[in-house]
Symmetry: D3
Subunit: 326 residues, 6 copies
């Protein structure tokens, strides 16, 4: 069984892979013949592939996001590696392969991430706040196990949303210790709620967003989460004019900081200011970490990163020499 | 009884006025003495006034937005008219004066405006949409009778909000006839709902906004109205995933058009595009009309108008010569 | 005779169409052979086509915007329909086909649109204003019968400019009734003049703009129309310092509202403010209507619309249920 | 005769000055008494002054921009020098003083500036271009003798506009020699015409702009000059579709470079690009030179300059040590 | 000894205070008399004061930022407390008062802050990086004991700069543990160096910035620090093309993130991205904390905060109810 | 020997050319065959070419930026000329061809440009300023002989940077004569230093920039030049707090004028204001001249020019008719 990352030119190999993309194309000959232009991937990376002798049955058999068993040869085409597929079939139960082994995902198990989020929820002392947070988690709990945090921007992989929340909760706990004037109930609740409606804003499978939902486009996840808070209050018998409800609404509504970034109001409580900057810090650092991870170690520069003013990031390669461990 | 607009220099007069502003100031003498720096107004305009011999009782008697009977003389001070008050007292029931006669208000009676809004609501054929509109009107019906549409921007007077709605409903009806592809139920509902939460966003008395409410600052009227729609659906037993609920949410959320103007999403339905531009047309023309009305006819230019790119408006004074009436 | 909209896969057909686009391309064989990559259209829509056996004569015979008679077969290529042309010839007088039957155009006959514009002109009571409007219409009257209002933005079809004017004149009339402080002579004149120089700014045929003229690029239609007003005044013996001339100049110069949108001055008269917003309302709603019309009814979303903040528009599909007709 | 720049604290003096500003104010005593709050100036600078015993006659005698003879004492008030006027009268013919000796003006005589502009005009070889330039100069020739180039921005003094033109013409001549691909007829004509309508855009006296004209506000000097070119062509029998006319229109219309700076089109000919940057270079350097000139030599920083991104300019004070003279 | 915060209306008191502001003004009487318009402060707050009988000696005795002993009475003037000073003298050595007891300062002793910074420096394992950091600290070590971090924006008090550094170092240590791909040597060095040149950019006394230095205005602290790194390398014999030198330069140059915020390049290394967001998080939270601290507890809203999009911050007042301590 | 500009369709020819671009591509046949997709150029222009029968040796022989001898035929492919290469070989010493004859370069010899720059340096009278300028020239003197001024923006050819400097020095000399308040030592030094670090910011060969250096991306040429000034001062024994050093730093740091254009500070000395505008004038005019030069004379419009607001430039073609030569 060969990982894609380990394939070299001229290798002949057999293995299981995920059919991430598949286009039916035609050769330029007369008459033109169909072929598959494919991207194969596993958790170690991805590689383009061609399958030249496509039958009508093949076109009805193979689709993106399916697992396949492939026999092929690695060629070099325009200075890049490419697979020439000689045989391909869909996997069968007896193959014993599981699609989640072939996709990129958060470095912590989804079940542990959701557990950590719930632990943070339990630590919220204020009962109204905890009840609202609990109600909202309930609406998406199943999706929290696998949804990404965004389409491409950051944490765009299996369970990326929950991973983003957990990292922010760690930061939130640290900041609350550093600055006791902050209310930890509000800040941690804000961290859990700020992107809670993203699973309804986007349509995702296996951590990959295919598109935004109609509701996502017409309302946006910020307004959706704001309405969930209202729904939670009504359903759980909390007064709509409660100052807790208002404080949570404000945290969610303002967390993008500026109108041009999608927030109808700007942060005007201490916790709302903290929430925005913790979100920015975690999201931007994750963009950098993800970009460095997925760039070959021999490349000094990552591709350009849209969320970082469209700048590429340089791998400094100065060895960590700190006298004490961090 | 003399209207402020009719006062001339050297006039001695007695009359009833509204104490619009009052500051207690001190003269520069030693010891300094208290005096009142006042603005008196009635529905015809306003004029500064001074009351020089202020007692301790006076300071506990007179406050802004109270009606007073004044005896005074008109002087010219730095080229502007100013009243020197010789006697002043609060009005009494027997005076038979009514505060609403002293303030600026919409040119149509509040009761007629609210009636017109309800008529438009009744014409909405879709029962879900009509129910939601009715629920939201119910939350502010009493305030619709007197609230302004904004603090200073436009329709900033008694019943200005209802007047803005009614004018927009007329335009909405015309546009729906001109362009039958628009759904009049949605457009007219959007017109009624788009600013419906403004009475909760601002604190106003007699058509004058003193400040924004805490909820107004932390949520904004757009998100408040969006949450009212959710509340209406829950309370009235309408499914939260109804496409009517979503269409109304979108109308409200997008009506400011751009993120930097406060809308978390941009208009993406035909009716939402129509709503934004009908709102802009009505608000901007009203700003012009109000500015021209409150500028003396002898002045060719109004003061600068913030909502019009901070430009002043020029009074063209070319007589209407159209062969047919418009 | 088969409309393009009605063609299905595998159909063999003969019909008349407009050759909207034609590129001579080469196959990848050795030696390469020429073929035509074509777009055929009629008033119902358009479809790509290939003609494989191109002779030297063909290359001198067929050009875009010509009518042709085509015999062909409909194939499916990469999931889209495409015509394989087996025979093609130019139309002849005896075919009895008229190019205007094959293009997209305003829903009202050009002759009726121009008549409506002239009626509105006749209703202008002020003789100076009417004379200037008449002179400017005279410069482009023939082109008003067929020019579009823009290259791609809005009303981009046969007689689209005149259609935009007529719709705006209807709105102008309504607004003048709603707000009697507006001078209808000025507003209706401004509506007729605001885009009057567009036919000199763009080079168009059959309602399709191929490019901007040199004068169009170096002056822009706003400054051109402004200069036409000066020319009209001189030629017709109207004083250049007339306040009517100035008011019309201002209407034309300011109608794009902001410098970054091309207006050297911002609206500073009541009618100029009205003109800008009536223009915006009509243009934006037409963009939406056109996008919905040309998107298959089965598609919930139109393509992205540049003039609407690059947003797509969603087809709400909530049936009109208004109790009274609009 | 004492220059204002030479007055020191405690000086008693008599002299002629220009009454640049005059406000009638009242003391705080009871009853309040009128006094004059005055700014006196001559060509060397200006100083505030007070005249305490104002009679009714005085208020009808003294107005801004009049010459006066003053007897007074210099006091220090809040760390600044101030004149206490003991006697004041208007000047009489016998005094032999001339108002132009008391105002700030270009460092070259107006008659020489206008002569230089006309010389540049005569050097234009193309007859159509020269004719149009001549016609436009004719419209403002008298005002060119004294108009400033702007209200406050740059060259805001007597004959500042002509001075700006002459300096730009020198630069234009140099650039045309350095870059022979530029057409000097067009560039020098563009320099003369670019601000030619400013005297009609602003109302100025003695080099000081009091306000913008109605036409200036509603059209702007750029569109006014564009229309003058059209007028020139019609009156002088030049075809309106001449490419010279178009090239000159473009130079004028585009010289502010960007829409937000007032140009409806951006520079699209070589000469238009040159014109914009020569204009910017001359205007910005003049702002710096004027600011340094009017800041006391002991001050290292000028006040903030709006046209220079609101920055103050620092006086470097490094002596010029170039081996050869520049 | 009475703290300013404890003074109430009608109190007669004696105490030591800092003369924070002092203006010599004149009464409006004839002849006008000099008085002092004063702001007195101590570490608990500040209050306006008047001293009416000012002698010539007084004007040469009292200046801002001097300590004084005051006997006075508290009055209410226009609804605010104000001190009427009856006696005032400068403090003398025997008074035993120390100016640093009267000013606002960081909540940690400067000596402890500088010690913490040096500890962090010692933990840098890479010798080149540590040497450069040490050299730069050496240039401002004495000023680190008292300089604020900004004029008004944030940490604008005694030792505010060192306090900002220490808080950021704590955050940097936490983030490096959370994300091991970051190089702690670089990040902690970047934190120490990013604002290291601020003491040369601003002129401050007792934690209060009076103005920017000439060098501060002409270079800015970012370019100054960049040049210090070059100087450090040359003086300490480190190669100028060392990748450590480049990495530190980049950290300093990019830490304001955008060109319009003063950074000539944008963050393009992982540590530079981290530095910018840690800086933003700490500065913004400190602005909020400072604003809440200096706003009376009875006020629900702070004044507007320029660094927070000019928004005021609301005091939520929801009690901290977390089950565990944070 | 045939220049590329002179090749016509059907020509058979032999000649020497520069291989500016070379891609190895594959035909669509089965099996695919390699061919070269080439761009050949000489100083007169460039033309695409195909070489169909590529051997393994060829792929190791031919690379971009190499000189080749070519035998070929000119064909027309999709309306554009294209070369079909029948024979190709690398040039040999005996061919007597020199690569610099085949590239685009400044119209003045590099040696003369560098001489002119050094002459300007010698004319700087102030010894400190001259020493710093000399030190910085020393760092890049060899590269000044061939480096372009930018990747694509302006002066993007052999010795373009030196040419830009020389033209600016001519302008600087003229402006210093026109405005004697400017210090020529500072201005001319600023002109030489402003882009002096560009050769270290970009990696270029034969006047063509292939990419930015790591240092170029992480610091930018502005900060690099600023640090060179510091280095120069230290190495040459000039005090770092010299006002000359500061003035030069400011010139370099501010010359892009705005933060969003890369300058950390804005121009705040007279010479810095002059430097920015001389730079802009020269760069923009060169963009226009280069675009017109490389556009066929029969084309009235150049391609769009990014540095000119993305506008194309129109060739006015009005003959120069000035009565005197310029």
């Amino acid at each position: 069984m060969t990982l894609i990352k380990q394939l070299n030119s001229q290798d002949e190999f057999v293995g299981f892979y995920l059919l991430k993309e598949l286009d039916v194309k035609q050769t330029n000959g007369t008459p033109p013949k169909d072929y598959f232009d494919i991207v194969l991937c596993d958790s170690s990376g991805q590689m383009p592939a061609k399958y030249w002798d496509v039958s009508s049955t093949d076109k009805e058999t193979f689709f993106p996001m399916g697992l396949v068993k492939v026999q092929g040869t690695v060629l070099t085409y325009r200075e890049r590696l490419q697979i020439k597929i000689s045989r391909i079939r869909k996997t069968e139960p007896d193959d014993g392969v599981n699609i989640t082994d072939f996709i990129r995902s958060a470095p912590i198990r989804p079940v542990d991430l959701v557990y950590a989020i719930k632990q943070a929820m339990e630590k919220i002392g204020d009962p109204e706040i905890r009840t609202i947070v609990s109600f909202c988690i309930g609406k998406v709990e199943e999706k929290l196990m696998h949804y990404p945090a965004a389409k491409t921007h950051h944490h765009a992989y299996f369970a990326g949303l929950a991973y983003h929340m957990v990292r922010m909760l760690e930061l939130g706990e640290f900041i609350c210790k550093q600055r006791p004037f902050l209310n930890p109930d509000l800040l941690q609740a804000g961290i859990i709620l700020h992107d809670i409606a993203k699973p309804e804003e986007m349509i995702a499978q296996l951590g990959i967003v295919s598109e935004y939902s109609v509701r996502g486009k017409l309302m946006g996840h910020i307004s959706m989460a704001s309405n969930w808070i209202t729904e939670a209050a009504i359903r759980e018998g909390i007064a709509l004019d409660s100052d807790r409800v208002l404080a949570l609404q404000h945290l969610v509504l303002s967390h993008h900081n500026l109108g041009e970034w999608g927030s109808p109001v700007q942060p005007q409580t201490a916790e709302a200011v903290a929430l925005h900057h913790i979100d920015a810090l975690d999201a931007k650092l994750q963009m950098v970490e993800d970009a460095l991870d997925t760039t070959p170690e021999t490349e000094p520069w990552t591709p350009m990163i849209r969320g970082l003013e469209n700048k590429a990031v340089y791998r400094t390669n100065i060895p960590r020499a700190a006298l004490e461990s961090y």
